[in-house]
């Protein structure tokens, strides 16, 4: 199962990220993990939240540009070399990672990595064949 990511366009200026977080907070949206890709003028805030649909709606109502994208969350062992082996699978199959980031919290002895692919189905197929656990959305948000 895919994980839904909420992506938000934020200008790289004081107070702008805060404005986005205020809207999400007031809409009772909980952020599970996040990352920001930045340029000198703007950033893209990418988040895994408990309710991406309502999060997006709250932002749109406030004229904030955002989108919802499917990303892949996979569990890897929290041990040296695990990430290397996961990525080795992708390079061997010529699957390009657009970007990736990690979960802040550990799940038992596993780490959770979020991957963005152009072709998410091909990536899932590759992982399934190599026996990696694909994290279900429901696991992440703890419901």
């Amino acid at each position: 199962m895919n994980v839904t990511q909420l992506s938000v366009f934020v200008e790289n200026k004081p107070g702008h990220l805060q404005g986005v977080l205020k809207i999400l907070g007031e809409a009772n949206i909980n952020i599970v993990t996040l990352t920001i890709a930045e340029t000198s003028d703007f950033g893209i805030l990418r988040m895994i939240v408990n309710d991406p649909e309502n999060g997006a709606k709250a932002l749109r109502d406030n004229h904030i540009t955002c989108s919802i994208t499917d990303v892949l969350a996979i569990e890897i062992d929290d041990k040296p070399g695990s990430l290397y082996r996961a990525i080795e699978t992708f390079s061997r199959r010529q699957l390009n990672i657009e970007y990736m980031y990690a979960f802040t919290e550990k799940r038992q002895d596993k780490a959770v990595m979020i991957f963005r692919f152009d072709d998410i189905e091909a990536a899932k197929q590759a992982l399934a064949e190599e026996g990696y656990g694909i994290v279900k959305r429901i696991d992440i948000i703890g419901e």
Binding site: D41, R46, R60, H63, T65, C66
Partner: protein, 433 residues
């Protein structure tokens, strides 16, 4: 056609009428206004010398500065007790210009606007929602009186309050709405964001009467596509009368000028020389029937072209091209002449870019620095940096190849650029030259 006698008048007859009226207008200004008398005398021109239309070149040109210098009533040519109405320009670039109307002038104003509405196919059966501002600005009252003159049901809602505009479109059965093209796009944005349940096609709205700011053919296409209505241009300037100097007809291939009331010439903005028909240059107006505030050879600063093309609509009136810019809005960037409308065309070419942009020109050292702020809508947003970077690069490349200037493209959040419900602020020139 609202007034076939004049709108389809044979060319030769129109020229005779214009000459006769020009003699009256120049004489009226000369006799009744000290400023005009002094100006004509200084140029060695007397209204009696006007024997042919060609003699118009001897009449001195009137500038915006002349109007400002005579604030408020210095250019009026009738006793003040004959003035029944005044309008005023916003005066953002200096002192405001105040224009006056006699009863007869108000009648002419209503007549030309009614002709415009008829040229878009409106009749007394139409319901016209006037969403231009009512007040000193000529747009609101101009459209209002014209719509009443035509006999259409007129809704004086004025500008702003988009939710209410939509409510009246639906409840009152509005068939045409009059507003600025940027406000029309505002309405499209509003429907898409806030009222996706509101379907224009389920209402009776079929046309927009758009003017008061320059807009491009691409913007027309976008409005027609997003709202599913016809977008017609109405052109005018308060110094001449207000909206109704010229208008699109059903062909949407140029604006017919109401030549029985307004005499038009194209001049070279540099030398002031009259250019032959078909040349691009600055359009100069002379009012032929205005009493309170005649304008004799007024330099509009609007850049366009005049031509005759045997229009299918049946009007014999000369046509002007959609105004492609203003000679005073023209930016000279590193020696390159750039009109905001050209910048708009470049942005519209890049797929999905909406014309919510602002150009900021500044001088860094000896170099002009150009920044174009473009609002990122959901259509162009991506969670991938490379896609957004690619968009900036594409816009920047188009700027270089089409306009010959390099510009920094800055992607900004929606609603960042000031979007008045009236005129959009497209250019901010911070240079102190």
């Amino acid at each position: 056609m609202f007034n076939k006698e004049f709108e389809a008048m044979p060319l030769k007859k129109m020229k005779e009428l214009q000459l006769e009226r020009l003699r009256w207008a120049t004489g009226h200004a000369y006799k009744n206004n000290a400023f005009y008398k002094k100006k004509f005398d200084a140029a060695g021109f007397h209204p009696d010398q006007l024997k042919t239309l060609d003699d118009m070149k001897r009449v001195p040109l009137l500038t915006k500065q002349d109007m400002r210098d005579n604030y408020p009533f210095g250019l009026f040519c009738v006793p003040m007790d004959r003035v029944v109405r005044v309008h005023s320009s916003s005066g953002t670039t200096g002192n405001a210009t105040v224009v006056g109307y006699t009863k007869n002038d108000v009648g002419v104003f209503a007549e030309v606007v009614a002709r415009c509405l008829a040229s878009y196919g409106a009749t007394e059966k139409d319901v016209i929602q006037v969403a231009y501002g009512y007040g000193l600005f000529t747009g609101g009252l101009g459209l209002h009186y014209g719509s009443e003159k035509l006999g259409a049901m007129t809704i004086p809602i004025s500008g702003g309050n988009t939710e209410r505009q939509l409510m009246l479109i639906k409840d009152f059965g509005t068939t045409m709405i009059a507003c600025t093209p940027s406000y029309m796009l505002n309405i499209a944005d509003y429907i898409e964001k806030k009222r996706p349940d509101f379907k224009i096609k389920d209402t009776k709205l079929r046309a927009g009467i758009l003017g008061a700011e320059p807009w491009s053919e691409n913007m027309r296409k976008e409005i027609e596509h997003r709202l599913g209505i016809d977008a017609y241009d109405i052109y005018g300037l308060s110094e001449i009368i207000g909206p109704g100097v010229s208008c699109d007809c059903s062909e949407k291939s140029g604006l017919h000028v109401f030549e029985d009331h307004f005499y038009v010439e194209i001049i070279d903005p540099e030398t002031g020389d009259i250019l032959p028909e078909g040349s691009k240059g600055e359009i100069v107006y002379t009012t032929l029937t205005k009493e309170a505030f005649p304008a004799i050879r007024y330099r509009s600063r609007d850049i366009t072209r005049l031509y005759h093309d045997h229009c299918k609509c049946g009007r014999t009136l000369v046509k002007m091209e959609k105004v492609s810019g203003r000679s005073d809005d023209m930016l000279i960037i590193r020696g390159v002449n750039v009109f905001p409308s050209q910048i708009e065309s470049v942005l519209m070419e890049v797929e999905g870019t909406e014309p919510h942009y602002q150009i900021i020109v500044d001088r860094k050292g000896a170099m002009d620095d150009v920044e174009v702020m473009v609002e990122v809508s959901e259509k162009i947003f991506s969670d991938e940096l490379k896609v957004l970077d690619g968009l900036s690069k594409k816009i920047s490349d188009r700027f270089r190849s089409v306009l010959g200037i390099s510009a920094k493209i800055t992607l900004v959040e929606p609603m960042t650029i000031a979007r008045s419900e009236g005129k959009a602020v497209r250019v901010v020139d911070k240079r102190k030259i």
